[in-house]
Structures are given as structure tokens and as C-alpha cells.
Symmetry: none
DNA sequence: AAACCGAACATTGTCTGACATAGTTGACTC
DNA sequence: GAGTCAACTATGTCAGACAATGTTCGGTTT
């Protein structure tokens, strides 16, 4: 015998219903991700809360489901949301307690920035250690040269990031293991928007620049312990700066 | 006046045509990305070469266009391919040298197994350290449970790799940073392909299994130093085993 | 009353077909 | 031979349908 129909409305999350009232139609040129962030902010969704389903979002924003899916899939790759067949899409990013007042855009992106750094940190340290052990004499000379170039650009007050990039690439090359450079490049590429967009011209890492000289010299002279120490310090400073930026963003 | 029909075949890239002959149908369970990599390698495509169009790939691989698109879009985000409306999809990076899909290329030389391990090592150690610090009480319990499960399976003489996988995944989850899991998953995939195919039934890691119990207990009790120590030992053992296999395999 | 079960439901995953948009090609014109 | 332009190619997006799977809730059992 067929079951009787269910007559009560599904008592879904109250928040999820509330969300729908906040959705604005998507004007031309705006990005779907931006619209989604705005929606999440407006509805004050936090970790674990469920987002409206894809079809609903697509209908309200006036775009096809495919665009919504693309956006949410990208977020899932970055660890911002978790999606499950049958269940819905939920916010997965952990929002630091001290950044509650920050707009969610910043919160999500800052959170990703910290996560990226957390992965980059051990890779970079190990790469330096390996480079100290494995580099050829020629490579040690090049590393010192790149460091000198970096310091010159830095003291001239110019944009030092390209030089910094070349310097670190030389270290990765010296490990003899291309995977290090590739993995870090991949990570940086995936989060490039984050690095550049929300914080404007980044002063990220300025105060750690001065440590690059002793680090390079440690690599060149084969002093494994010092090289690792300096790199660890640099990573710590960068992390502190990231946290500071996040804290200052409220 | 209407233009006359074009009667000559489009003299497309020779390679692109050659490619189609290499495409194999996608068997169940294989990943689309894997199939694409295999295809690219079989056709010896290099930087700048054009891939077959989406519809063609979908038809040959026996999947919908959406899956192909998802895979190619992911690659584009990583900078492996460049896609243009109207024009096609072209290889933008040397896929053989890119980290995302090293399995096939790595099968060729066992030496790259060591390189892979060199990258995995610091990631795994840092993940364990983070998990020791960040895990919730619930997660610590689950880690212990997974460890017990792993030991049971191991002592029963069954295939312990799935249990091992679940155990490590739980640790990655406990870091609160999904990037660790994602990166290591890629690397591990490379490992699996390697030590399953050429070396037969792998004994890789067996002798390190016994160290998993104290490691899990260190994580659960928040003993950062011990956890890192045990993980380092495990990594060292695995590395030694890899070297042994390589030495014996020539 | 609490635990259990199953059918309906909700939601993401995938396939298919269609159209829009934009780059590429090649025959035709000059 | 150079330029033009229509046809062709290929990706971007939309819409609808079905599949797969987690979730909910009424009814049944203990």
C-alpha cells in the first residue's frame, strides 16, 4: 500500500530559508563568486551552514546551473566549501575567531592564505635543506648572485617580488628535485588571485627580506642547520605578517 | 549570392588527427584525467599542441562532455592547458614535468620514486605535527580507532593499504587544512601506480607499520615531539625500502 | 516511549542537446 | 598576392532529464 503523502513542509535549516531572501539578481559583469560571497555575508552563514541548492542559486542569480557548479567546485578545491551528493553544499572554511568582524570575502580568502602558507612552509624548508646538501658549486654561486640582486632591488625600493621569485626558484633547482618547485608553483598559481587582489600592493614579507642574505650564505657554505634556521625564521615572519594583515582587516 | 561549399578537408594539425587513433575507451573506474594523460603521452603531444575537441574526447572516452570540461578546466586552472573559445585547447606546460599527473611518466624511472618521496616526507611530517596540535578530541579518538583497525587488518595478513589510507586521511583531516590531503593524495597516487605495477605485490612499508601505533598515540595525547619523531622514522624506513627496491630492481 | 524501517524527498553528479560566442580557414574578389 | 567574408570549428553557457545518494519523517515494532 502506498504511503500517505507528506503534508508538512520540510523543516529545513532556518538559515537556509533565510538565505533566499537575501539573494540579489546577478547584474551583468559581476562575477558569480562575488555574488555568492555577498550572499553568504548577508545571510551571516558560518562554518557548517548549508548553502542553498544549485538550482535555487542559479534561478535567483539568473545564470545557468553550470556556472554555479563551476564556482562551487572551485571553492571546494580551495577547501572553502564541502559538497556531497544527496546532502548539500556546506561552508567548510574555518573562520578564525579574531576575524569575526571582517567581511566574509576577506575571511575566506585570508583563511585560504594561511592554509596555503601552512603547506608551503614545510616544502620550502625542506627544499632549502636539500639545496644546502645537494647544490653544485655553480648553483651555490648563482644563489648568492640572485640574493645580491634581490637585496639591490629591495634597497632601491622597487618591486622586489620578481627577484624574490627568481631567488627561490634557484633554490628549488638546486635541490635536484623539480617536484618542489612545481608543487609550490602550483599552489601559488591556484591562489594567485588571493595574493594579489584583496590586499592590494602587498608588503608581505618585507621584514623577512633581510634574512635572505644569511640564508643564502648558509646554503652556499653548506651549513645545513643555519640554512634551515633562517628559513624557518622567514616562514614564521611571513606567517605573522599574514595574521597581522588579517587582524588589521577588521 | 551564397558562397560555394568548401570541398577540401580541413588540414588540421597532423598531430591532432594522429591523436584520435590512440584514444582508448575509458574503462570503468579509471579517471578521466588519467585517460587524458595517457592519450597525451601516447600521441607524444608537447607544449603548444592542440588537443582533440571536447565532443570528440567525450565520444571516444565514453563519458559526457561535462566530465571532459571539468577535467580540462581544472587543468587550465593549474596552468597545464590553455583553452580558447573558437580555437581549441592546447598544452601550455610540459605535462611530463608537471606534478599533477606524474604517475605515468614516473613509471619510467624508478629513481623519480625517490624524488616523490622527498616531497612527501616534509608534507607528511608537518601534517602529523599540525594534527597533534589542532585535532579535536573527537578526531583524536577517530585516529586511534583507525589505527586499531589498521593493526587488526595487518595482523590478519590481509591487504592493509585501504586501512592505511583511511588512517592517514584522518590525520590530514585533523590538520584542518584540506590542502595537505589533496597534495599528498596526488603524490600517493603516483606511489600506488608505481609500486603496484612494476614491482608486483608491494611489501613497501610493511616494516614501518608497527610504528603507526605509537605515532597515533602521540597524536592523540598531543605529544608533538614524539609524533614528529615517529613519523620521521616511518618516512626514513619507507625511503630505505624504496632504495632497496630500486637497487634490486635493476 | 524509544528504536527501527522504508518510502518519499532533497540535492549533487552526469548526460544530452541546443544555442551563443568567438577564433580559424579558405575560396573568392580585387 | 592581399584583403574580405562566409562557412566551419570549438569552447562557453543554458536547460532539461535522469542517476546516485544522503536526509527526513510517518508508521511499525519492540
Amino acid at each position: 500500500m502506498p504511503r500517505p503523502e507528506r503534508n508538512s513542509l520540510p523543516s529545513d535549516d532556518l538559515k537556509a530559508n533565510k538565505v533566499l531572501n537575501h539573494i540579489k539578481p546577478l547584474v551583468a559583469g559581476r562575477d558569480v563568486l562575488d555574488a555568492l560571497v555577498e550572499l553568504i555575508e548577508a545571510a551571516k552563514l558560518t562554518v557548517g551552514d548549508k548553502l542553498p541548492p544549485e538550482v535555487e542559486l542559479a534561478r535567483r542569480l539568473g545564470v545557468g546551473r553550470s556556472k554555479i557548479r563551476e564556482a562551487l567546485n572551485a571553492w571546494q578545491k580551495m577547501g572553502i566549501v564541502v559538497r556531497n551528493k544527496g546532502a548539500g553544499t556546506r561552508l567548510a572554511a574555518e573562520i578564525a575567531s579574531h576575524s569575526v568582524h571582517m567581511p566574509l570575502t576577506m575571511k575566506l580568502e585570508a583563511e585560504s592564505l594561511l592554509r596555503t602558507h601552512a603547506v608551503r612552509r614545510p616544502l620550502e624548508i625542506e627544499a632549502v635543506r636539500l639545496a644546502t646538501v645537494e647544490a653544485t658549486d655553480q648553483q651555490r654561486k648563482v644563489i648568492l648572485a640572485r640574493m645580491a640582486e634581490l637585496m639591490a632591488v629591495y634597497e632601491a625600493g622597487e618591486d622586489w617580488r620578481p627577484a624574490d621569485h627568481r631567488f627561490h626558484n634557484e633554490i628549488f633547482a638546486a635541490t635536484g628535485n623539480p617536484l618542489f618547485g612545481q608543487l609550490i608553483a602550483q599552489i601559488q598559481k591556484a591562489f594567485q588571485d588571493i595574493y594579489e587582489a584583496p590586499f592590494g600592493k602587498p608588503h608581505l614579507g618585507q621584514s623577512s627580506i633581510v634574512l635572505h642574505r644569511p640564508m643564502a650564505e648558509a646554503i652556499a657554505s653548506g651549513d645545513q642547520i643555519s640554512a634551515v634556521n633562517y628559513t624557518t625564521q622567514i616562514m614564521d615572519i611571513v606567517e605573522a605578517e599574514v595574521r597581522e594583515i588579517i587582524g588589521a582587516g577588521k
